[in-house]
Symmetry: C2
Subunit: 277 residues, 2 copies
DNA sequence: CCGCATTGTGCATCAGGTGGACACTGGTCC
DNA sequence: GGACCAGTGTCCACCTGATGCACAATGCGG
């Protein structure tokens, strides 16, 4: 079991051991698409694909005919071979590369939760805000929010955003500032050079992004956050969120900063390894 | 019937009217993937997907379980929603954007063949060569080559290559020259400034790329080619190939250049319209 | 003119995809 | 705190519909 607490659904089945057997024709169809993709120019004959997939020739034919009718494949007029179309892109356009980080973050966040008890989030940049991609809010007994994943945290007034802002590459920060000036809520900060300078200096001096009720939407909520690097570039941040009346900033930092850094380093190792397939 | 002659296979069925009924579970699985892609962050719950696709909830579940086992989807630990993975990319990575041109080229080449009788090819740049993506060699009674699609035509000694080389953007041409200098066969031309200058000047003055047996592999084969533009950028070329002993260059140009230009313009219109779906 | 390789077609079989029914959980509204 | 509801997990019997066999047709090379 990956997480400590389960709130929703009854599933304890950790992902792949579901009692279902796969839908065969879907599996085969996807195999087929992959085989086509592997071929030079995404172009192959019926026989090529049959041997590549190990499927019966007529089965391949029928699957291809289906893919054609659905518009994922066309048959070239020039040599009757099968060719990929633009529509195949629609099967992966929703995937953003940042998702890579999220995919491996689950276990890391879980173990962080065990040490810290307070909930934390994994965030990646998204425009003038940080996008929460994974979170342990559901699993923390101390959590005060319900659904967090998918929410946006404004860049300049949250710990997660500040950590990213301070540690991203210089040219990226310049673009961010331009974007932030367009943001109705954050423009006043983005235009305030003193504010920005202080923010950068403090954050870097401390080594973490911090926030104590600066984000007006929240009451007395505090948070600290650290960046996650890939190839020497910041790609995400991890935060820990606590109630300020329960624990002071000093104490939070002394207790949680080191686990946060450890989690970030774990993530970096996993990223460097590459996602298994 | 799109083309004049059919040599291979017995298929006169123009693509989509095949007598097969679609493989339903494959269609549904792909619909599902698309639905996930359309959702914000490629993330959705079971119920979301069921309503989005109009499928029964348990059906969606089983399909998703299959997609998970195959690695295209993972289930987020944070909120049990379904999320796309990097592997979905493998379903479309083989697709190159140049394919867009090829997809609409078939009918244009077919009508060009009817006017010209000699075979022609649609080529897109690929490294230091032009890649033949569609062709009417199979359909021309005057054809002298078998399979052409997928073959590479060296950039500097073929009509198709020269047309592209002369009409592509300046910065792209600079990169091309760098590449060509690495090419064992073409380096001697790429390093010859006079050759390059003459080539550019002549090609542009004439308005078409030409080749009369310059490509050593061929005997007395001639060809002329014109560029195809998209957004004011050359993206492909169309050529016509003839036997030099059957027809002189003068005559070939006077007869075929105008149909070639018309075909190029037709293609440009189709490209501007965008590919349906 | 004949074989070989590749692809198209029709069809009987039964694996397997489907969706109904029921159970369970957590959240919300009085 | 009790009751309701939305969302999900699990099981299973039915019957669709996916499958691959056998046969035919074609073009190509010799």
């Amino acid at each position: 079991m990956r997480f400590v607490r389960r709130k929703r659904g009854m599933a304890v089945n950790s992902a792949n051991d579901a009692g279902y057997s796969k839908v065969r024709s879907l599996v085969r169809g996807l195999e087929l698409l992959q085989a086509l993709n592997r071929n030079e120019q995404g172009r192959a004959s019926l026989a090529d694909l049959a041997t590549a997939t190990g499927l019966h020739r007529t089965t391949v034919r029928r699957l291809l005919e289906t893919l054609i009718e659905e518009g994922y494949v066309r048959r070239s007029g020039s040599d009757d071979r099968y060719v990929l179309t633009l529509k195949t892109r629609s099967l992966s356009e929703g995937f953003t590369h940042d998702e890579r980080v999220s995919a491996v973050a689950g276990p890391v966040l879980a173990s962080l939760l065990q040490q810290v008890r307070w909930p934390s989030d994994l965030c990646t940049p998204d425009g003038a805000a940080m996008l929460i991609r994974e979170s342990t809010h559901r699993f923390s007994a101390l959590s005060f929010h319900r659904t967090m994943v998918g929410q946006h945290l404004p860049m300049l007034v949250t710990a997660a955003g500040r950590a990213y802002f301070a540690y991203c590459a210089d040219d990226e920060r310049a673009s961010l500032v331009a974007l932030l000036r367009q943001d109705p809520f954050q423009a006043k900060y983005a235009n305030d050079a003193r504010f920005i300078d202080n923010l950068l200096e403090q954050t870097r001096a401390r080594g973490y992004g911090a926030n104590e009720g600066d984000w007006s939407e929240e009451g007395k909520v505090g948070a600290i956050a650290v960046p996650v690097f890939e190839n020497a570039r910041a790609v995400a941040t991890i935060n820990v969120i606590y109630l300020a009346r329960a624990i002071g900033r000093e104490e939070a930092v002394s207790r949680y900063l080191s686990p946060l850094h450890k989690a970030a380093r774990q993530l970096e190792v996993l990223l460097a390894k590459g996602v298994p397939d």
